[in-house]
């Protein structure tokens, strides 16, 4: 139980998707102009990560890992399908995003309208596939740990995008050198926020 909680906290603060690994930067930069839209995107990413990471974990554990097919038959014990993981993970993610899109459209048309094009684009958000690939690389012990890693990473992304959106809303009133306006200053601010998040680095959980 404690291990699960540790993974959760680690993935929010220490291994933050944006500040430690730069995953999901594209939508992070494109959507963070106002707090409202980034709130919606952050929620959607958290939700999709929370679903796809455990599903991909099960897929990895029972089909892809070397020897994972042993539950099927003795003869499959030395089958190694791990080279297929990219294509299967992306297929799971694309179909999950499709599913989430349909559910949101059915039950909350308001949220659906406010997310607009960004909902389908989550499928190609690096943070989602990155979550699954990190899960595979770090060898989590059971599906609960994988779930807490997925949810934690999503919340980390959520915090980061809300933070930058709030700063960008305020920075509109300051006098920035013209050449640095927009993209340039956003990069530099993200860098500074990253340095701030590095203060969590030494913490061992």
């Amino acid at each position: 139980m404690q291990e699960i909680f540790n993974i959760f906290i680690r993935s929010i603060f220490i291994d933050n998707m944006i500040f430690a690994y730069f995953l999901g930067m594209c939508s992070y930069l494109a959507v963070s102009k106002t707090v409202d839209t980034s709130f919606g995107l952050g929620l959607a990413v958290t939700f999709v990560l929370g679903i796809t990471v455990p599903v991909d974990y099960l897929l990895n554990e029972y089909i892809l890992k070397p020897g994972a097919m042993a539950w099927l038959d003795e003869g499959f014990a030395d089958v190694d399908l791990s080279f297929l993981s990219f294509i299967l993970f992306i297929a799971i993610i694309a179909s999950m995003v499709q599913l989430v899109e349909m559910v949101v459209e059915k039950f909350s048309p308001a949220l659906y309208a406010s997310l607009g094009i960004f909902l389908p684009l989550i499928a190609v958000n690096c943070a989602i596939l990155g979550g699954s690939l990190f899960m595979q690389e770090r060898d989590y012990q059971n599906v609960a740990e994988a779930t807490s890693f997925g949810l934690g990473s999503g919340i980390g992304f959520f915090l980061a995008i809300i933070g930058i959106a709030a700063i960008r809303e305020k920075i509109r009133y300051s006098n920035i050198p013209p050449a640095l306006r927009g993209l340039g200053i956003t990069f530099i601010i993200t860098g500074l926020m990253g340095i701030a998040f590095m203060s969590f680095l030494g913490i061992k959980l």
Binding site: F22, C26, I87, I90, A179, G184
Partner: protein
């Protein structure tokens, strides 16, 4: 088939050369189109992984641009994203296996970022914006051009980070020992991830200062 078919465009007509040149400067995928930032920053602590990453992206982008361009009239628009993802994922699996076979240590250093080429926005972006509406040869040039534009930024960032952070270039010490004796120290901060963002920010600043058309309102 017809008469006009004979007057084919030369392979390197000015229009085609523009496809290669534009992404290097005024239409750079990273600093202007804001595509593919995710992987660009994480692999730039040293020059060698940055160059391997550039080559991998170039192969994936050029080949999948050509494949999608060949298929473009047969892909139903509703499922095009899945088709594109399958083509890209297949190419990335090939690149990943080749890297693991020939440069294992670099492949370990790049860790998940080779897999993340699949979701690299440059590739999806170029497939959507260019390959879906153009012939294979221009699509190929567009792929090469954009991968070069991506690579140039990667290499500039990696050069500064490796030079200032470790005092080496391609793992060879270039700062003479005498400097260290006088009290010069490597700037350890440059190796850490946040400095990649700040370096890219400065590159954008310099580029926009020299090319005023690119300046945004806010």
């Amino acid at each position: 088939m017809s008469e006009e078919k004979k007057e084919r465009e030369p392979l390197f007509s000015p229009k085609n050369l523009k496809l290669i040149k534009d992404p290097l400067s005024i239409n750079n995928p990273i600093t202007v189109q804001v595509l593919g930032i995710c992987s660009a920053l994480a692999v730039t602590a040293k020059l060698k992984p940055a160059i391997v990453m550039t080559i991998s992206v170039m192969v994936v982008l050029a080949v999948s641009n050509v494949v999608i361009s060949l298929l473009r009239n047969g892909i139903p628009p509703r499922i095009r994203i899945i088709v594109q993802l399958v083509v890209i994922a297949t190419m990335v699996i090939l690149v990943d296996q080749v890297l693991k076979a020939f440069v294992y240590d670099v492949s370990k250093q790049l860790s998940v970022f080779v897999g993340l080429i699949i979701t690299n926005c440059i590739i999806m972006g170029r497939l959507e914006a260019f390959a879906m509406g153009n012939k294979p040869w221009p699509a190929f040039l567009d792929g090469i051009g954009n991968a070069l534009g991506y690579g140039i930024i990667l290499i500039i960032v990696a050069f500064f980070r490796e030079f200032l952070g470790s005092g080496t270039i391609f793992d060879i010490h270039v700062i003479p020992q005498g400097f260290y004796d006088f009290g010069y120290k490597n700037n350890g901060l440059m190796i850490l991830p946040p400095m990649a963002l700040i370096t890219v920010g400065v590159i954008i600043w310099v580029q926009r200062y020299r090319n005023r058309d690119l300046i945004e309102d806010h």
